[in-house]
Symmetry: C2
Subunit: 446 residues, 2 copies
């Protein structure tokens, strides 16, 4: 049997490797358009922050290792352009201009996502960047190394925009960040969003909200962003307004698409065609709280989905429950985490949600180094079921959020969650830690 | 209605305060034998480590606040000596030698636990300490401040023994720790126990195992411990071989006792008499994994049980599921956590357990400051149910263990736990974090 994978990033290489581990006799081929495979994309902002690190230290496994040690027919510079479902062929072109046509028995589409590029003039000017692939990361790093970049303009304040703000500040580059939205991280309650905004300001990051980028132009050696109100100039511009799934190949093969045009897959990662799977940032998932299809492209899901595909094509039937949208990121000295639904998302999904925002501490009463932690917890009033939550604090957020994630997977009520016997020791938590304190307060609204 | 509480520590004061909050008209009286109430006992080793801190900064709320602000009739220096169930009276003596006799409608026994004092000669010599009450803490701190203590001998290497080893080292005191057990922290797998042992050794703590203390004596201005094999001498000796429940009062009132002679309570914290409750370190609990009665005296349970009693006597019926025995503690630069059953405990409870020990990382591939985390995960082979686990690492252990705790409360299988959508970002975790990696390995044994 020949298993062909289109896309050699997290989902694709996870699937290829695990398929080979499961069945060493399997014929596994991977077609990757770029020349990079298997790298930690999420590590790029931290790598860019440190000029002495090479971008390639983010490569987890070299292409040659996949070939020689794992026996995977990995072909770089191979762009798949169409899939012939009837003849079971992948067609494409190589970076040196040849066409190729390759047969498959089972196919995995793992084409990932790409940064949204707004349809405006000036996007191709030198010094204008996006960040998704390792090559994008190299471009930014090279730009910072090769000229005197004093200030950067970041368009978009999602995870990437905020992590890159930190990276630029670490490099001594002044940052002005602009977002179309009315405030920072809309899924956070206002008072928690304000804490993150203050952290940015305290590190010299200038932020502007409710502004739309209309044009980028070059003016006296500087980039100039024309906005719907006013303008801003900088030595470097990073466009970080989100990503879209690379699902055109799947669409052209008449596969069903789901939310945001991501490739629709069932719980075995199968698309609407029985021999074709999709996984990673190009594919959708079921949300464990709503049960509905969502598109939340995150790294763990990509890896997990890749494994599931490998298991399913090698006869170890595997179903994935879905995603909680759990995410954590660092903003300067803050840890920000979320899982499940925010209050607004819960309303939009038809729940009758109630929520609470509480202030707790990272350590016990009187323990040195104690920091504030804010928790937002959301539940469904009629059923008492936990729907989601978020946390902001200087320490003790990143892993605490996972306890809430498990509770969401277990469909716990607030009352059940409040019963959990959490770990306590003075250096690590108050007796009643942040999540239990929040659950206790939320019980009063139920 | 008059609610009388015997014991003014975590469970007692939690119950008294919450009862007053629930029903301000309630007549609430607390009889506490010592002169301290409402303090963070677990904070004592960290306080002792810092000579500039006063022991009293561990007091969460002053006695006078309970009286004046909360209207609680709090009487210090009042030792309850018996309970007359028929006449519904608490009888006792005061520190100034008077007898008292006080009526109750509902009674809470929250008499806590006391350190085990082995029945050996020399236990009352100056410089020999135990650590449970704030007064014990003051005694140790005073001893360190008032003379030149160069070395300390710690008998027992449980949580308190290890935390005090760290405190003594912080004070520049050499530590020799001795335990009757054959190795450190028997509930940890050997290789994880070895990591903790090495951490102690790296900080100059000398350890000896399989040795029993037989006598303490005074010899040329030093304390000398005669062991079953050899002897050891020091300026100061700390006996930390565990605690026993203060259940004699309950036993004398013919209340049922449970494991380790702790006062047996149901899920509402009621004892075998309908008007008498027990909570805190003197009372037992149901284990959420086995469903059986256990005695695991820990701070969160004491606070939680105190609240439950208050709710139950004021008409808000509350049931507590039970405890997972979740604990975390710091040993020098290590975080050590556990929840649920160890492999041996699972065997002893009649499960058919399998376990795995894996090595993972605290941060993403190539992220600076990455540390090793070891995880032990235990499951029941026939059912696949998670039974417990433990973790050791320099960071990222203390809160991760809570995710496993929630999974135990939810009675998750390893397969279900492995589906959880954990948070990932390079500064905080590998894509597949330590717990998921362990779950994935454990799946292979199921």
């Amino acid at each position: 049997m020949r298993f062909v994978v289109i896309g050699g990033d997290a989902a694709g290489m996870s699937a290829a490797s695990k398929a080979k581990r499961n069945r060493p006799d399997l014929d596994v081929a991977v077609f990757e358009a770029s020349s990079d495979v298997s790298y930690s994309a999420c590590g790029m902002p931290y790598n860019i922050a440190q000029p002495e690190r090479t971008m390639d230290d983010l490569v987890v496994r070299q292409a040659e290792v996949f070939r020689s040690k794992q026996g995977i027919d990995l072909r770089l510079g191979h762009t798949a352009t169409s899939v012939d479902r009837d003849r079971k062929l992948v067609l494409g072109t190589t970076s040196d201009g040849r066409n190729f046509e390759e047969p498959y028995d089972k196919l995995l589409i793992a084409t990932g996502a790409r940064p949204i590029r707004p349809d405006i003039p000036g996007l191709d000017l030198p010094g204008v960047h996006v960040l998704k692939s390792l090559q994008h990361g190299r471009n930014i790093k090279h730009d910072l190394a090769s000229r005197n970049v004093r200030d950067a303009l970041i368009i978009g304040m999602g995870y990437i925009g905020l992590e890159m703000a930190e990276a630029f500040v670490a490099r001594g580059v002044h940052v002005h960040a602009i977002d179309l939205l009315p405030r920072l991280l809309l899924w956070l309650p206002q008072e928690m969003s304000d804490i993150v905004a203050k952290e940015l300001a305290d590190h010299g990051v200038e932020t502007s909200f409710g502004l739309k980028l209309q044009t980028l132009e070059y003016s006296s050696g500087r980039l100039k962003a024309i906005l719907d109100q006013g303008d801003a100039d900088a030595d470097l511009v990073l466009i970080a307004i989100g990503v879209v799934p690379n699902s055109e190949l799947a669409a052209s093969a008449s596969l069903d698409l789901g939310p945001k045009n991501a490739v629709a897959v069932d719980k075995t990662m199968k698309t609407s065609h029985p021999d074709i799977y999709a996984a990673g940032d190009c594919a959708d998932a079921f949300h464990i709280v709503t049960g509905k299809r969502v598109w939340i492209p995150l790294a763990l899901r990509a890896n997990r989905a890749g494994w599931a595909v490998a298991d399913n094509i090698t006869g170890n039937e595997t179903f994935l429950d879905g995603v909680a949208g759990t995410a954590v990121f660092k903003v300067m000295g803050l840890e920000v985490g979320r899982t499940g639904l925010s209050l607004q998302e819960a309303l939009d999904e038809g729940f009758q949600p109630v929520d609470v925002v509480i202030k707790s501490r990272s350590k016990a009463h009187a323990h040195p180094g104690n920091q504030t932690i804010h928790v937002n917890l959301v539940a469904d009033k009629p059923t008492g079921r936990l729907l989601g939550g978020s946390m902001v604090g200087r320490e003790g957020v990143a892993h605490r959020i996972d306890a809430l994630t498990v509770a969401l997977h277990a469909r716990m009520t607030v009352d059940q969650f409040f019963q959990c016997d959490f770990a306590y020791a003075p250096p690590f938590s108050p007796v009643w830690g942040p999540l239990l304190t929040a659950a206790n307060q939320l019980q009063k609204s139920l």
